[in-house]
């Protein structure tokens, strides 16, 4: 963490780039890399003879923006649609609706051939690096493969490029001839990152990239991701259920619940004063070193509802401690509250209350 990042703890209200806004509805700024609007992904719902399959609304309404070299943390619990959102952005999943504009192009209209080219610029890394690697290829071959596939750079220079990439992710040269099963989980994740970097992407969608790693290894991988961002201006969509890791890495955070973004804003203010009851509950649930033992904390009751049958009105009202009659009747929109976006009828009350 550099000194330049320190002052922000003093002036949380001032740090929002006011001219720019954080909403997706704002004018597109020159440094905007990715704009996602009203993205939807439904599964099932086909008509069969005499009956209709249930529709799972995995992603119901997701709008977000990402700037060059920025990290947006996308958090939520299992089944909230955060991974599906990431998979649509890299083209592994076809949206049921909405737009994904990347560097001015709408990715949802790309032909498969265009996607092939586009893929270079948007890479993805996953939770389990071992399963993302080919067990029969050496480490050097894994990293070289995308260069060969996309025919990037002169053939003769590719071994050198592989060595350079390995160095960039701090993999010892000795590992070049090893196979995936001969290296550790942390090293495997570095190989995956090196392979993603080979395409010189401007965006990497990271889906729980450190969740399977031990904390000491986790820290080295997150440090590496930050370092690469500083040097290469890579933007990250960092998908995670771990709000502690997300805080360390993200400039902004979007919180998802049952397929919708319920709150989005700058990381520090959002953690300090969440304006959506679900964000509050999520933050209160994290076991953290900064929280004293036995400190009473608000807990959510019950399990999240099924995305096949989401509650009426506000999806969160069945578990919300502040729910009013209005909440089950009227769907809240994601709307601007100061420099935050919140999907709650009573967001202003929470702001003034605390």
């Amino acid at each position: 963490m550099t000194d330049a990042q320190r002052p922000q703890t003093q002036g949380p209200q001032m740090q929002g780039p006011k001219t720019q806004g954080t909403g997706s509805q704002e004018r597109e700024m020159p440094d905007t890399l990715l704009t996602v609007t009203h993205l939807r992904r439904h599964f099932g719902g086909r008509h069969a003879l005499l009956r209709r399959e249930r529709t799972i609304r995995a992603v119901e309404d997701v709008s977000l923006t990402l700037r060059v070299g920025e990290t947006l943390g996308l958090v939520g619990e299992s089944g909230c649609g955060k991974s599906t959102t990431g998979r649509m952005i890299v083209g592994l999943e076809t949206p049921s609706g909405g737009t994904i504009t990347f560097k001015g192009r709408d990715l949802t209209r790309l032909t498969p051939k265009d996607w092939q080219r586009q893929r270079r610029d948007v890479q993805m890394i996953f939770q389990n690096p071992q399963s993302a690697l080919d067990p029969r290829l050496t480490i050097a071959r894994q990293i070289r493969e995308p260069l060969d596939l996309h025919d990037i750079g002169a053939r003769a220079g590719r071994d050198e490029e592989v060595a350079r990439l390995m160095q960039a992710v701090a993999l010892p040269v000795e590992l070049a001839d090893r196979y995936p099963h001969q290296i550790s989980g942390g090293q495997a994740q570095r190989v995956v990152i090196a392979r993603a970097l080979a395409m010189r992407p401007s965006l990497i969608v990271c889906d729980e990239p450190v969740s399977a790693l031990d904390v000491s290894v986790q820290a080295t991988v997150t440090d590496l991701l930050q370092d690469l961002q500083e040097r290469l201006d890579i933007a990250y969509l960092f998908i995670s259920h771990d709000l502690r890791v997300v805080k360390k890495l993200s400039h902004r955070v979007a919180v998802m619940y049952l397929g919708q973004i319920v709150e989005e804003g700058l990381t520090d203010p959002l953690y300090r004063q969440p304006l959506h009851p679900y964000t509050m509950a999520l933050l209160a649930a994290i076991p953290d070193l900064s929280v004293a033992k036995g400190e009473p904390r608000a807990r959510l009751v019950g399990d999240p509802p099924s995305p096949a049958n989401p509650p009426s009105g506000c999806h969160f009202h069945t578990r919300c401690p502040y729910a009013q009659p209005r909440c089950s009747a009227e769907k809240p929109e994601l709307r601007a509250v100061d420099d935050r976006r919140v999907r709650c009828h009573f967001a202003e009350d929470f702001r003034t209350a605390s």
Partner: protein, 286 residues
């Protein structure tokens, strides 16, 4: 029965479990290797001891050894495991079986893998009670109902007739806890019981364990890799690395002023909520 009652001169009055110089080795294709090296720690009555470590630290093998459940290619080669005055390391299988049911309850990470998919939850609870208690059939039915209510299962009467797959992960873990507590054990061993759960559900389960500990006066031996969970649960912490205890002491002290270099490294690597997030620096598009 070979479990002997041993009067321990240095033993504190409130010590429920004392692991002393526990050494366990495994036979592998590449020869014999010790995975636990003289591991020692204590669990006090009614208190929570957290064993924390990264993968390969030996924390799970330690709890397997306490329960006499070390895999077949493993062997305890030294040390004692004193539970309520009895050396479990020297006890025969019949004694261990009795203790595992009645004296020590167990909860694991994967509740679905630990419960029988073919029997209703009620049948499994009644079976446990039939094996380990003298309760009549009617009393067992009543006790099974009480247990589900105690762990916070809504509509327990109806849920007794449900199968495990009909429960969510959090609810299945509650049932696992109900099974473990069926015979009112003095010690509950919980091996990463919340690792597979979402955070809001994890918080519910941790609260439940803390409430049950207070209500039933039992001790908890809690295995975890998450120092945040340690902060929320532990009275005493045992930090393990590579099969050795590197540091042990009161949780408040270990977490605020760790002595072992490894504990310091682990704490420093732990992401936490009170660290400032990075600030975006404007860049131009490439």
């Amino acid at each position: 029965m070979t479990g002997m009652t041993i009067a321990e001169p240095g033993e504190g009055k409130n010590t429920l479990l004392a692991v002393e110089d526990l050494t366990v080795g495994f036979r592998t294709a590449r020869g014999y290797a010790d995975v636990l090296h003289a591991v020692s720690f204590r669990v006090e009555q009614g208190r929570t001891t957290c064993v924390v470590g990264e993968s390969g630290s030996g924390k799970s093998v330690t709890c397997q050894a306490i329960l006499g459940l070390v895999p077949r290619n493993g062997r305890r080669t030294g040390g004692r495991i004193l539970f309520a005055g009895m050396d479990l390391a020297a006890a025969d299988e019949a004694t261990l079986e009795r203790i595992r049911g009645r004296g020590i309850g167990m909860v694991f990470q994967d509740p679905l893998g630990s419960l029988n998919p073919l029997h209703t939850v009620g049948a499994q609870l009644r079976e446990t009670l039939r094996l380990h208690t003298d309760l009549s059939e009617l009393q067992r039915q009543k006790r099974a109902l009480d247990l589900l209510a105690m762990v916070g299962i809504p509509e327990p009467e109806q849920r007794l007739a449900s199968y495990v797959h009909q429960f969510s992960g959090g609810m299945a873990q509650r049932i696992m806890i109900a099974m473990a507590l069926a015979c009112e054990p003095q010690l509950l061993i919980a091996d990463e019981p919340t690792t597979a759960l979402d955070v809001t559900i994890q918080a519910q389960i941790l609260d439940l364990l803390n409430r049950l500990k207070a209500e039933l006066g039992m001790a908890i031996l809690f295995i975890t890799h998450d120092l945040g969970v340690v902060a929320e649960m532990a009275d005493t912490v045992v930090v393990m690395r590579h099969g050795r205890v590197v540091e042990t002491g009161p949780a408040a002290r270990v977490l605020s002023a760790p002595e072992a270099p490894y504990t310091q490294t682990l704490l420093a690597a732990m992401p936490r909520l009170d660290v400032a997030a990075p600030v975006y620096r404007q860049r131009s598009a490439r």
